[in-house]
């Protein structure tokens, strides 16, 4: 029997999105193959972090904001630290800069490994979840778990503990690791690099839906290195700005169906942040083994298929392991683990690349070092509108599919972005209307 597209209205509801961080839902209304409504509903309660920060000393900001997310606390620490250092005019020596990159690599490894193997792979292999998948692909799951553990361990060595690390601070680190401590990581990182190359080769065997969008990719771009902590904010549509100009170009909007604000580019609309954006705009800065493996696997840029984000994550796993090894091998401890930051009145903004995409922080400080105002724009709130746009574009081609398959494909499309709903709901704008 040929599938027929009914003209009746169909409503697809996923009341609790599985395999995403935090609490969200999906609501779609179709009439025939026409999409009438798409809402990525984020109902996790708002968490008001920007308000918590007001009145606190700037040295507390990295540890407070790290609490926003258990998966990417390093990103929060890094964006907070860089923004505050810019407000205070602090610059750090090269060894500290390298340690920050190493710290960030640990987070990328653990976050990407979790998503690639445990959250996204089941979509491609046709399993309900990683548990079902593990019964038939034990080696794959074991590989992912070991990669994640290596990332977590790197974060713990650098940050004092795996979750909500405590070592990074404005000016550097409270404690710098010894050369011996970092060299001890080398065998694991060597294994992880090989495992990451294997991961990319495995992603080349997966089947990808033929779906492309004309995205505006937004990410950092640094002249000499694949971006983590520094660079200008660029896009493939001409955006090229310093972090201090972020709020002139990107605005956040409140929508009724979400406790997270939705970010859009002024007068242009939705945009994509994250691994696929970074790989597209920084492919030339990936290390040689990553570029070579990409060529062998037939992956090239521009890549506008969001389902291929899993390949972008695999490429970034290769980068993060390669970069961590480079830093570990060359490491010479800094003379002092941190430079002192003297309080002064000022305003500073910074963007760093969280595993899921750019994370913007901006702080205004009083002369005594207290935080007067804070603004945080996490990656998931930036991708939220783009996810809805993807679904709107994808759905007409799926309208004839049976309901379960349609729902599954939509969920997979959401998971392309590895949304972190806990991060996205850090803030709620309250609007009171009066007669």
């Amino acid at each position: 029997m040929n599938p027929t597209v009914s003209k009746a209205t169909r409503t697809i509801k996923v009341d609790y999105l599985a395999r995403v961080e935090g609490e969200g839902a999906l609501y779609i209304r179709l009439r025939g193959d026409r999409v009438e409504d798409v809402k990525l509903k984020i109902f996790e309660p708002p968490r008001l972090f920007e308000a918590f920060l007001r009145g606190r000393h700037f040295m507390e900001a990295p540890d407070i904001t790290a609490r926003i997310c258990g998966i990417c606390p390093v990103a929060y620490q890094m964006s907070a630290i860089h923004a505050i250092e810019r407000a205070l005019g602090v610059t750090v020596p090269g060894a500290i800069r390298e340690l920050r990159r190493l710290f960030y690599c640990g987070e990328w490894i653990e976050s990407h490994a979790l998503h690639v193997f445990l959250l996204h792979a089941p979509d491609f292999l046709g399993y309900e979840d990683a548990i079902e998948m593990a019964r038939e692909h034990r080696g794959l799951v074991e590989l992912g778990l070991r990669l994640k553990k290596i990332g977590n361990h790197l974060v713990a060595v650098m940050g004092g503990r795996e979750i909500h690390p405590v070592s990074a601070c404005v000016g550097g680190f409270y404690r710098a690791p010894t050369r011996h401590e970092l060299l001890a990581l080398k065998p694991d990182l060597e294994w992880a690099l090989e495992a990451s190359l294997q991961t990319l080769r495995w992603t080349a065997t997966l089947e990808y839906p033929a779906f492309e969008q004309d995205y505006e990719f937004v990410c950092l771009r640094h002249p000499d290195e694949y971006p983590l902590n520094e660079g200008r904010l660029v896009s493939n549509c001409g955006l090229d700005i310093d972090a201090s100009e972020f709020e002139d170009h990107i605005i956040e909007q409140h929508v009724k169906h979400s406790n997270a604000l939705q970010a859009v580019l002024r007068q242009r609309g939705s945009y994509m942040v994250g691994p696929l954006a970074r790989v597209n705009l920084n492919f030339d800065l990936l290390p040689e083994p990553a570029r070579q493996a990409a060529a062998e696997c037939g992956f090239s840029v521009p890549c506008r298929n969001p389902f291929r984000s899993i390949q972008a994550r695999a490429l970034e796993l290769i980068f993060a392991c390669h970069e961590a090894l480079r830093i570990v091998e060359a490491y010479e401890p800094p003379a002092e683990p941190r430079v002192l930051a003297t309080p002064r009145e000022g305003r500073g903004a910074a963007i760093t690349e969280a595993p899921r995409g750019i994370l913007y922080h901006r702080y205004s400080l009083a002369a005594d070092g207290r935080i007067v105002a804070a603004r945080i724009v996490p990656p998931t709130s930036q991708n939220q509108r783009r996810i809805e746009d993807d679904l709107r574009a994808l759905l007409p081609s799926l309208a004839a599919e049976p309901p379960e398959r349609l729902t599954w494909r939509c969920e997979q499309a959401v998971r392309n972005y590895d949304p972190c709903i806990s991060c996205a709901t850090h803030f709620l704008r309250v609007q009171i209307e009066r007669d």
Partner: protein, 149 residues
């Protein structure tokens, strides 16, 4: 025996697991607190023979009810432990470990039924009472397992 208290200490009744772990540490047991992210849990119980996980539940039972699952004996119904805001939580960690042959031989889950999970809240009186009761029962169990050891 290792006791793992799971939850968020500052989200009302979600603190139940952490508070049981704290109480048991005071009483001399080996007990740790974790947020409930699946891979961290699996790493924590790696190599252990006997594990008790304590977590808040939302099953529709009366708040403060303590339910015990023998996870080593039978698969968990995942809807029983849906309090985690993580992509993969306690139930997923247990079942993934089972699928990979990494589940400790003796594995029980103590679920304490909660009713309020909002950030910044203290646990409800029903759950506060249940925390003490769960700690007492686990202490009793630990006595048994010590004699078996």
């Amino acid at each position: 025996m290792l006791v793992i208290g799971v939850g968020h200490p500052d989200c009302g009744d979600d603190a139940a697991g952490c508070l049981v772990a704290r109480r048991l540490r005071e009483l001399g047991l080996r007990a740790i607190e974790l947020s409930g992210e699946a891979t961290t849990l699996m790493n924590a119980w790696e190599g252990e023979q006997e594990v008790i996980v304590v977590d808040a539940t939302l099953t529709g039972a009366t708040p403060g009810t303590i339910q015990i699952w023998d996870a080593a004996a039978a698969p968990l119904r995942r809807e029983s432990l849906r309090c985690s805001t993580h992509g993969m939580g306690v139930a997923e960690a247990v079942e993934l470990a089972r699928a990979l042959g990494r589940l400790p031989a003796h594995f029980r889950i103590y679920g304490i039924e909660g009713r309020k999970f909002e950030p910044g809240q203290t646990p409800s009186p029903e759950v506060t009472a249940a925390i003490e009761e769960a700690a007492r029962r686990i202490l009793e169990e630990s006595g048994k397992c010590t004699s078996q050891d």
